[in-house]
Amino acid sequence: MKALSLKNVSTLCMTAALAVSSVMMPSIASAADAVIDNAPQVSTLRGVAPLNAEPTPPMIEKVENNDLKRQRDYPQQPPTIPHDISKYQLDKNFNKCMDCHSRKFADEAQAPAVSVTHYMNRDGDFLGEVSPRRYFCTQCHVHQLESKPLVENEFVDMEKLIRKSHKQAK
């Protein structure tokens, strides 16, 4: 064995560190370092700048703004937002989303009205107003960027899985 590949080294380190960590707490840090060193270059939102330095802010990404509905990956998925929502006011006073997406204004804006589940409380009772737990839209609904994904998406649709298992059963 002339040279260990980097991956092997770090795996070894990690295994060793994990073995020791049950006895010695500080080793966890080195284990974590090993994992980070080996990870693909995906940085935090803050970027790779050290904590005491001010990183240069990245360019603002182009937001998908084509008003085309995306397919949902699973039935319960909150639909993505197919338009720009920058500077929309969404606070305890006002909800800009509901300016178009509430039942009352959906016709004039030709926006999909929020479903009735948004008016249900946790006990399943229907309220007259949007339920407080559903008020902040961006907790579930997010806009999309027109950018290259940082990592490959290996998500498999539920239906595909079902079909596959059906085939295997046959």
Binding site: N93, F94, D99, K104, E129
Partner: protein
């Protein structure tokens, strides 16, 4: 009382008599020069009250609406064009401007008696203050918006689909004006209960 009436009468007799020592030319020319100085001075003073420095010299405006403006596109954007307070809040047309400035005397009153001198008081008055501006812009067909944003120069093909659809229909046929949809673009909106149902929590 009699003395005052006597003085007024004396003043009138002096004013109604032709000048004895001063020539007509002197009176005309000096009257003209005095007029120019007075008019210029008046306009300069009025323009001074139209500057951002003047508006933000009071903490009420500096700490509330001006702070909120700074996060919006009317303050900071890619091309560096920006609007100051008076661009949106004072009509450019002279007679309308004078009318607005006379209304603003009420704001001096508010300043003296501290109507909105704390954040809480400002929040309490926010809806009323906003409604004043919405009413004014609705009545003048969003004149202050249109001072910069010309409908005829809008390129719908450069707008998003939604924007183009609204601008080419409701705005084009005069059914709606800018402020109907573009409320709260330069300052935060208050609770809109009673203005736009369903957009604010109870």
């Amino acid at each position: 009382m009699k003395k005052i009436i006597h003085l007024l009468k004396l003043g009138w007799t002096i004013l109604s008599k032709p000048a004895v020592h001063l020539s007509l030319g002197f009176l005309t020319i000096s009257g003209f020069i005095a007029g120019v100085i007075f008019w210029g001075g008046f306009n300069t003073a009025m323009e001074l009250t139209n500057t951002e420095e003047f508006c933000t010299s009071c903490h009420e405006m500096r700490d509330n609406p001006f702070m909120e403006l700074q996060t919006t596109i009317h303050y900071s954007n890619r091309s560096g064009v920006r609007a100051i307070c008076s661009d949106c809040h004072v009509p450019h047309n002279w007679t309308d401007k004078i009318a607005r400035k006379m209304q603003a005397s009420k704001e001096v009153w508010g300043k003296i008696f501290g109507t909105i001198d704390t954040r809480e008081k400002f929040e309490g008055h926010r809806l009323q203050l906003a409604q004043n501006e919405w009413t004014r812009l609705k009545a003048n067909d969003s004149l202050e918006c249109r001072n910069c944003h010309q409908f005829d120069s809008m390129d719908f093909t450069r707008q998003s689909k939604r924007a183009a659809a609204q601008h080419s229909s409701a705005l084009a046929n005069g059914e709606k004006t800018c402020i109907d949809c573009h409320k709260g673009i330069a300052h935060k909106l208050p609770n809109m209960e009673g203005v736009r149902e369903g957009t604010s929590p109870h």
